[in-house]
Symmetry: C2
């Protein structure tokens, strides 16, 4: 089985975006609507949006199950206040839940949280619990910068975030550390802000002792860990200067990298530098980079090809990256699959 731990519902029916646009237009006059009940998307529309897009590509490329969360760039936690984000997150999560109900063999949910800049993260807990307990979701996306590129929240190591971590540990769910749209003109969303956030999150963990407080807390750092694996020597050296333990011990019982790196040399580096047990298969398909690489003739984000082609992995190691590691990092997913005899 091949599990893709990083998929977003980027292809939701247009009605979703229209509802959001109305919500944003009335951001200061929420009484003018839209109401949640104004959004009407049928099961057929959901099916169509998936069958023609993610599911057809999964079949074409050979992956089986995608951990599926709301579109990252649409989370836009910088817009409005807690109520704005709360309504929006509930809508987006429910759509992912419905997709998972329609295609239980191919999609399982991960929750977007109703974060808002300057708002206590514990306000996200009711939505988190609903998604885990009622929707059967197996993970969450945690945005370390709900300001959208202005980075006004404390680092992930700060007690500010502990209420979320306590729930993650209680429910045995990992968080993918994933920012949303940048509203800072310096940062292109998918070309700079996403990668910077990955590097930033990694370094926030490195400088802290967060995982002493939460030994079983698990973070998935997407986009191949941002700059971290490429600069692994730098990070090992900085940890040494800071008198931290070796990274294996200090971070690699808790931090995992996905394989959203869109060329062969990048995957070669990732699989050379990072222990296999810390790498989870992912493509973020259909996502930021949708084209065909003229150098290979294949989709940039068809990351399975790079994992198949690298010389750094045995077949057993490939299977860990495709399936085994995800079952460990997402124990609720493992139990879900086992209950189905998989």
């Amino acid at each position: 089985m091949i599990i893709d731990c990083h998929g977003h519902y980027t292809t939701a029916p247009k009605a979703l975006e229209e509802w959001r646009n109305q919500q944003v237009a009335n951001i200061n006059t929420p009484n003018l609507g839209p109401k949640v009940s104004d959004l009407k998307i049928s099961d057929d529309e959901l099916r169509e949006s998936i069958v023609q897009n993610q599911l057809s590509k999964m079949k074409e490329r050979g992956s089986d199950l995608t951990i599926f969360s709301p579109r990252a760039s649409f989370m836009a936690h910088h817009i409005g206040d807690f109520n704005t984000s709360s309504t929006w997150a509930a809508i987006c999560n429910e759509l992912c839940y419905r997709v998972a109900q329609l295609f239980p063999d191919h999609f399982i949910g991960a929750a977007m949280l109703p974060q808002s800049q300057g708002v206590d993260p514990k306000t996200s807990i009711p939505e988190l619990e609903k998604c885990i307990k009622d929707f059967g979701f197996v993970g969450i996306n945690l945005n370390p910068d709900p300001s959208g590129g202005h980075w006004k929240e404390p680092p992930l190591s700060d007690k500010h975030w502990y209420p979320i971590y306590e729930k993650m540990v209680e429910y045995e769910i990992p968080a993918m550390i994933h920012v949303s749209t940048s509203c800072n003109q310096c940062f292109h969303t998918t070309g700079a802000h996403y990668l910077n956030a990955d590097t930033t999150a990694f370094m926030q963990c490195l400088t802290s002792d967060l995982f002493k407080d939460f030994p079983s807390l698990k973070f998935v750092i997407p986009h191949g860990g941002g700059a971290a694996p490429y600069h692994w020597g730098r990070f090992r050296g900085l940890a040494q200067e800071l008198k931290k333990p070796l990274l294996d011990e200090h971070l690699l019982n808790n931090i995992y990298f996905d394989t959203c790196v869109y060329h062969q040399p990048g995957i070669d580096l990732l699989t050379k530098v990072i222990p296999v047990k810390n790498i989870l298969f992912a493509s973020e398909m259909i996502g930021a980079v949708r084209g065909i690489d003229p150098e290979t003739g294949f989709y940039f984000d068809d990351t399975k090809r790079y994992i198949e082609s690298t010389n750094n992995l045995s077949n057993d190691e490939r299977q860990m990256i495709y399936e085994g590691n995800a079952r460990k990092v997402y124990p609720r997913l493992d139990r879900f699959l086992k209950a189905k005899g998989q």
Copy 2:
């Protein structure tokens, strides 16, 4: 000859830091001093600070000439106003000039600019011209984020920066795009902010047509280009989505990466992915990562070892990285060397 294009005066005599501390202490009452003339550092003190540090390591490791600029993390353009930065930059640049005078075979200057957040970059031009014309400097460091981690200036592609670019073109000097200390608690200075800035600068160039306006403008993106080479497929794909030309044509006549990547797999990736003509030897020694790598027994920042060991380069290509490319990117350096018969 081996030219290291990225060295900072991190080992300046303590008196410099003490002067700066006093300047910062009186930031709102500059009339209380210190005066520039209060800073007294003798040639012997300068010699000692270099001979025992950078120069001894250059000899040990086998590099000949370092392009030497003031300590990056000490630039701290977020502190005070233009006058604060102006006085501080003049002092720091002059010390680099004196080092270059004392060791003309081993050091040549690159200027820090007296940038200040929200201040028109053209105010930096007098200091730039003094350094080029009077001090014989061959490049500048340009800080794309003088706010120190809050990113309040426009992107590098904005006309805001054009006065600097006009002077760079006029004087045939490249800019290393180098931020300074982060005063945003989210970003560790050398572990996140530096690398994020590299990635950000690269993406700002990618999304723009800056090099159409300035076909001969040259940027050196340090720290191996941040996350850019590791995610080269992502950037090629994003350029394609944005209907930009291939990166070779769009950016690689103007953007160069240094080799400050502190482990073998990172240098292997850099030299595999990026054309040799766009790679400049550098170590940023003595800099952020000063320790010995327990996995190799050698200094993390002894980057020459990785370049020697990689299988991706012929000896001719190594010599381009060590010397030839730097002579092209820094034409004033080339002329300086040629005038000495080198």
